[in-house]
Symmetry: C2
Subunit: 74 residues, 2 copies
């Protein structure tokens, strides 16, 4: 299996409803390889600790209808 990494995404979120929606969608992936989620509304950043590839997380965030961009993997 893949290593666990911290993936960072830039996500356009304008209120707590926006960040809550992203948190909810990623939270549903906790049984599929998402270990931890850290969301900063102020910084417009979402950090996901996961063994999943960046593209899979990116697609999940895209389905929320928010603008999203992959920034980095540690």
């Amino acid at each position: 299996m893949s290593d666990i990494k911290v993936l960072e995404f830039k996500v356009t979120m304008t209120c707590e409803g926006c960040s809550g929606a992203v948190n909810k969608v990623l939270g549903k992936m906790k049984d599929k390889g998402v270990e931890d989620i850290e969301i900063s509304l102020k910084d417009q950043r979402v950090k996901v600790t996961t063994s999943l590839p960046p593209n899979e997380i990116l697609e999940a965030i895209k389905k929320t209808g928010k603008e999203v961009e992959f920034i980095s993997s540690n």
Copy 2:
């Protein structure tokens, strides 16, 4: 094929970012049977003119991470 109906959903949206996200996701379904979308942030309502069954629209809105409830079909 099914008739075109106006389906009404109650969706928890707290800012224009929230309603914009719902609009974006449903807008992507315009080539799959969604004819028109009307969103009221004030009333927490989403009206979708479509030949698709309510459940299919409900699932798409759920993927945005928003709370959603099917209200009625005309």
